[in-house]
């Protein structure tokens, strides 16, 4: 059937490959749509972006690092970079910390656990834009958080502690308040996913292991540190990596909540594309920087925390 039933002469290099393909026709056919799709609609746009970032006419065309130099010189970009790092790290700490607590809670047996699990996982389906819209209501000047804090101030006054609380619009205040709002909105929405991943990890720990630790006299804290945590590590790594990727790329939430007050890289790039600026070259360079930032963080995490040779992905 094939024109190369026996390994062909020039084929010491090509031959085995061709033979492999012939032996795996089904697999190749099955993989073709996925590979084609990714090449056409993911790889090509990425290559295109990198090329654009290096070829602004302003800088004299390809290849030129002009856009990157312009970025580093821009105050707005530096603010966006700093804010992105702050928001991403804050979100990660909140999400992994709270996610672990929620997972440990759901792993215990208690009455109504099924119901509690369903309710706690509810935000899983909430669209990102909606989580931003909600936080707009919670964190605005006449919002629920300020209401709560005012009530707390009243409560403190009753017991003789005087704390004057000036309501502020958290989203428009700028600085840490606005960044905190963004991190909280992100945390609320993704906590269920993080909890689910970590819960999977807890459930994968054989009960005998813990029983054995208990018999050996390990205390609750000791078991958590020396038994549960090491066995949970791969799941923690997956959660951290998946979340880090999305936390650094944060966009809709920041657009809605921090909009004009505090830029992050996502909204900065968006702003370069948008009509008043309409500068795809700078936008592309910003995107490449964001990509490198994420790649750098993930590599650093894998090296420092996971150690070599233990990569999970």
């Amino acid at each position: 059937m094939s024109d190369r039933a026996t390994p062909s002469r020039p084929g010491s290099l090509l031959g085995p490959g061709a033979a492999w393909i012939r032996a795996h026709t089904l697999e190749v056919a099955l993989a073709a749509p996925l590979v084609g799709y990714l090449l056409l609609l993911t790889a090509a746009p990425i290559v295109e972006t990198v090329r654009l970032s290096l070829s602004a006419p302003l800088d004299g065309g390809f290849p030129s690092l002009g856009r990157y130099r312009a970025l580093l010189a821009s105050d707005l970009f530096r603010a966006a970079l700093r804010n992105t790092v702050i928001v991403a790290l804050l979100s990660l700490v909140l999400e992994i910390g709270l996610g672990l607590l929620v997972a440990l809670t759901l792993h215990r047996r208690f009455p109504l656990r099924g119901l509690v699990r369903t309710l706690v996982l509810m935000p899983l389906g909430v669209p990102t834009v909606v989580s931003a819209a909600v936080m707009l209501l919670v964190f605005s000047r006449a919002g629920y958080l300020n209401g709560l804090l005012l009530a707390a101030a009243d409560g403190l006054a009753l017991i003789g502690v005087h704390w004057r609380f000036e309501p502020v619009g958290w989203t428009v205040a700028g600085g840490w308040r606005t960044l905190f709002t963004v991190a909280v909105a992100d945390t609320w929405k993704v906590l269920p996913v993080v909890s689910l991943i970590l819960l999977a990890g807890l459930q994968a720990i054989p009960e005998e292991v813990e029983e054995a630790a208990k018999v050996d006299g390990a205390t609750g804290w000791g078991r958590a540190r020396h038994v549960v945590l090491p066995l949970l590590a791969p799941y923690l790594t997956v959660a951290v990596i998946l979340r880090a990727i999305d936390a650094f790329r944060i966009f809709e939430v920041a657009l809605v909540l921090a909009g004009r007050v505090e830029p992050v890289l996502g909204t900065y790039i968006w702003g370069r594309y948008a009509p008043p600026t309409s500068d795809p070259y700078t936008a592309a360079a910003g995107a490449v920087v964001l990509f490198l930032l994420i790649l750098g963080f993930v590599s650093l995490y894998l090296r420092l925390v996971v150690g070599r040779g233990e990569a999970v992905a």
Binding site: L30, L34, L137, N146, P192, E210, A224, A287
Partner: protein, 279 residues
């Protein structure tokens, strides 16, 4: 950090504390949704003043009526639903066979593929989106259901391919070998043996694809000039509408999904994600 509740010792205080903590968790998870519902029926005056009322005493459906009658709900709902279904089907049709093939690769190659899938996810979706949108505009795919679904498939492919590679890997090769000794063709083996064994992971992948499309904002924004999806409608309401209109559209977007999550999460056993982790 005990993993199972203990009934011995000074348990009563602990149990009360634990109960309080669980209640706090549930409240924190649900409070924002509660806020949305309340605000969507709040009369204008309730939103002014320093402290928002926790419970709206005189609910009005004025804003719901305005949103529904203004056509701000039905058309976007239909578009969002259609695109989400197309995306789910398309993503599974492309990712499942591909993941099966990847799972058959030697370990090193497989790991390489999975890592590169993850790395493509690190690239900002924004620029990928702009590039895809430009191409789609040339192909006349802007503002079509198909165009948006194709874009959404792009967005979910890496992640669900990743989940599915893990699931297919977990099938012992003996199982397939046994089926072929029994005379089943490879395609029949796939259909009758492999697919049923990976059904839970396929379900998780389908759920993720559906959720992704239903929530997606960026591609929708870039590929839409006339008919909004629901997330775009929420964004527009944030931009221009009243707080109540924004809340009403948001509730419309959230309600169906809460139903779906409530039903499906029973089947969303964390174990189904485990495949991705061992991957």
């Amino acid at each position: 950090m005990t993993v199972r509740a203990r009934s011995d010792g000074p348990g009563a205080i602990r149990r009360v504390l634990f109960g309080a903590w669980v209640t706090a968790c549930v409240a924190a998870a649900l409070f924002p949704i509660f806020v949305l519902v309340m605000v969507s029926v709040a009369p204008g005056a309730a939103l002014f003043g320093e402290r928002p009322a926790l419970i709206v005493t005189a609910p009005t459906f004025r804003f719901w009526r305005a949103v529904v009658e203004g056509g701000d709900l039905w058309a976007p709902l239909v578009k969002s639903l259609t695109v989400a279904v197309l995306t789910t089907i398309g993503a599974l049709a492309v990712a499942a066979p591909g993941a099966y093939a990847i799972a058959k690769l030697p370990v090193a190659a497989r790991r390489g593929v999975v890592v590169s899938l993850l790395v493509t996810r690190m690239f900002p979706e924004l620029t990928i989106g702009v590039s895809v949108a430009t191409r789609f505009a040339q192909l006349g795919l802007t503002d079509t259901y198909w165009g948006l679904a194709l874009a959404h498939v792009t967005g979910v492919l890496p992640f669900i391919a990743w989940i599915l590679v893990g699931a297919f890997e977990a099938i012992p090769s003996d199982v397939e070998a046994a089926a072929s000794i029994d005379g089943a063709s490879r395609l029949a083996t796939l259909r009758r043996v492999v697919l049923p064994m990976t059904a839970p992971a396929l379900a998780v992948a389908a759920l993720f694809a559906w959720l992704y499309s239903w929530n997606e904002f960026l591609y929708a924004r870039l590929l839409t000039t006339s008919q909004n999806t629901l997330p775009l409608q929420v964004f527009q309401a944030i931009d221009r509408g009243t707080r109540q209109q924004m809340a009403a559209v948001a509730v419309a977007l959230v309600i169906p999904i809460l139903g779906i999550v409530a039903v499906l999460q029973r089947h969303l056993r964390p174990g189904a994600l485990a495949g991705a982790i061992r991957g």
